[in-house]
Symmetry: C3
Subunit: 339 residues, 3 copies
């Protein structure tokens, strides 16, 4: 267990110790929400919706913005972005454990696979021929690593991650359970109204410092690779199709789908259950809001949306009926205007 | 195999034996649809779309509403809700098998894990340190149960369910294959346009009598828990994000997504592929229809929708073009009116 | 490694060798995209977006349409549909490997299961009682095949595919990792505002020559079977609910959902993240575009859509506000016209 002094935390969080001066030798050893915090606990305040909890918190210290200090009944650390500060503090309080070299006897590792010690390979893993796993990486139970797959240093694969042949992964990439990378893309030609499969021979390249959420899927490219840049964060149940390219530091929220050959720039944000149509290109800094459909190329940064908003079903039914005739209605009204 | 008399079935289904009086010693030992039923089979009729099949059924007995009896050529049992009656009868005909204590030698169970006999732990399971599995529970092949996870009595985990550290489950909860509970939520701060991970330390609590469908994912909370109430039914491929709270007896259909910190009341119904936006709150009894986006808090019970309805693509294209200028069109028309 | 002469490729791709006459003994042993191709490589050109790459390609030969030949600096093979031709060439260059009979000692195969040699059963597989696996089939690591499941000849199950009891699969069906077939459908009756489970006793039937993408799920029927026809292609993360029927040679793109008892005709195409509502029927040849909601039965072939298109968020917000009052606005305008 890690314990930190306020001084250490202030440095980690880029924060200033505000008065009232806290107990000088106070040690912080865990983090909690404002409402559940007790002695030894650090919490944070970054949104007005939690003001009542701030006012009654029993945390030992709270990270907050200077103007909110008046509402805080306990010692505070002021910083510009308490959410960011908290992220840094959590990383310090709960560091990633050091990896001790251990290959479970119940794992099936091909003789030609290269494991750069220390790596941990858990029960039930399958590591194929000529696969390479970098130092400090962990393969949780039942992971399946295909022939020739390469994993960089410090990667974490939680339980039953599957990386098929032809997948190359950078350093410090985290995969949550059920992720599948490198299946064939959904590509078929047609002949006599039947589907003729395109065998997929491209790979998947994933940059450094990415995170891929539970049960997400990333298909291999057809001839070229599917490419995920560095620092890309992908939530649960996201589908990334063949030959997609995602720029560095973009984030894709849960249930979103990126169709084949779409190209997403850097610093983009794709909202939950949003969709990017095949071959569409999104410029750097494009934000697609949740459940929107990016059905055309967007060349400028900014937020974009489609769809409509929630309303009572009875009202919605009437509006939807009008929508189905919208063009006709508008033309009739314009015609009426003229006459 | 279970066999039931009509009298037993009438009691189970809260139904009345209608004349024509059935064979007194008729035994029912299986259930079928109206169209495929034969001797020994019970079927049910609850929707007019199946009237033709009712009129020709060869079932030994049919559960139906009294007014439909005239259309039934075979013995009938009348009840108020034949669908509910059939649910009860199916549970009686096909009871959950008793569990015999058996830990497969090809499972990896930590010495400190507590298995309350009888439990069944199948081939390939991994049960972590200090995990607890209640009596009558079943872990199918390749389930991975993290450190300290607790499962109540009578739980069923089908093949390869993953419950990460910090997950606590009530009694009689059923998990279908590929479910992942307790991965980190999708939470990042930003610094210099890069994502800084929020380590997640909250858990997941799941109440009694829940069912979680294949490949669904439920993330742990950041500091507090993600909470699923009692009697909650979650379909396949549903994504439940960090710190979500779902009230008792709510149901969520396939492909739906509940974003972070959303709070869903009791007795809610979320339709297939619907989305609930982050931090939104839904009152008890709210129904979100399929593919709708609940992008604001809804304080009253009732049905809500967003989106539009299907129509021919050529017509739709014209209407969508108008939608993109809807505000401008309406303002122009209003202006024209004035002048 | 397979090597093919231009004559062989021309025959496979139903193409004509155009002049300039290629090197007579040229051998092609791999396929590449236009931009990365080098000696010994075949590529193809089928869309104007790749014209610049065509003009500079270093492929040994390019499959294209006759009119595009002028832009090709290297030998060309002309055909009517270069994409289809390439599909055939890829299948010839990268044939499915022959299966040698091998049951891994780390697999758990019930004594009563019938494996028609040659089949490959990999490490960690579980094959239940009375299951049948046809000749030439492959079960990748950690597949779980329930009691009585039948698989035809030449099926490929990649890693950790789960087929529950009651699933029957035809010949040459390919399942990608994480697929789950045969879980209970999402069917509940209601009593006192609580959900009463419908035990599902139907099965799942899958025809010949289907492909099911990573992490897709197909539920069993309640009393009758869920039925997938022949030649049906299902992408990643698709949800197919209980009692759905999908006609031959239909294709369903990623993240789509087909709700309970929907009936999809033959030669249909369901776009990415589209939804088909429960009990809806789609005629043969219906196309539902991406993210559209098929909320009514469609009796004629053709393309159908719902939703709106992407636009800047600020504009969208204004239009959405108008949509929420669309019926009221239209009625007011019509009223204004009259007076």
């Amino acid at each position: 267990m890690v314990s930190l002094t306020l001084g250490q935390i202030a440095e980690i969080a880029d924060a200033r110790i505000s008065d009232p001066p806290p107990v000088p030798d106070l040690l912080i050893d865990h983090a909690s929400s404002l409402g559940t915090a007790g002695p030894g606990s650090i919490s944070f305040y970054s949104h007005a919706r939690h003001r009542a909890e701030l006012q009654q918190t029993q945390a030992s210290v709270v990270l907050l913005r200077e103007p909110d200090r008046a509402d805080c009944p306990v010692p505070a650390l002021s910083c510009k972005d308490p959410y960011l500060g908290m992220a840094r503090v959590l990383q310090a309080l709960y560091p990633i454990p050091e990896v001790t070299h251990a290959v479970h006897p119940g794992a099936l590792v091909d003789d030609s696979a290269q494991l750069e010690a220390p790596v941990r390979v858990d029960f039930g893993c399958v590591v194929g021929a000529n696969a390479r796993v970098g130092a400090g990486s962990v393969l949780g139970p039942h992971c399946v690593i295909g022939e020739g797959v390469t994993l960089g240093e410090g990667c974490v694969l939680h339980a039953r991650v599957t990386l098929n042949e032809g997948v190359r992964v950078g350093d410090r990439v985290e995969f949550w359970p059920g992720v599948v990378v490198g299946s064939d893309g959904f590509g078929y030609a047609q002949q006599d109204q039947q589907w003729v499969k395109l065998v997929h021979r491209g790979g998947v390249r994933i940059g450094d410092d990415c995170e891929i959420g539970s049960n997400s899927t990333i298909d291999r490219g057809m001839l070229d690779d599917t490419v995920i840049g560095c620092g890309v964060k992908i939530d649960n149940q996201v589908q990334v199709a063949h030959n997609v390219r995602i720029g560095d530091h973009s984030a894709i929220a849960g249930n979103a789908g990126i169709a084949g050959s779409a190209k997403i720039g850097r610093y983009c944000q794709i909202g939950g259950a949003a969709g990017v149509q095949g071959h569409v290109e999104l410029a750097d800094g494009v934000i697609i809001t949740g459940m929107s459909k990016a059905n055309q190329t967007l060349t400028r940064a900014g937020a974009y949306s489609s769809g409509t908003s929630i309303q009572e079903n009875a009202d919605w039914l009437r509006n939807v009926a009008r929508f189905k005739q919208l063009d006709r209605i508008v033309r009739a009204l314009k015609q009426g205007e003229k006459t």
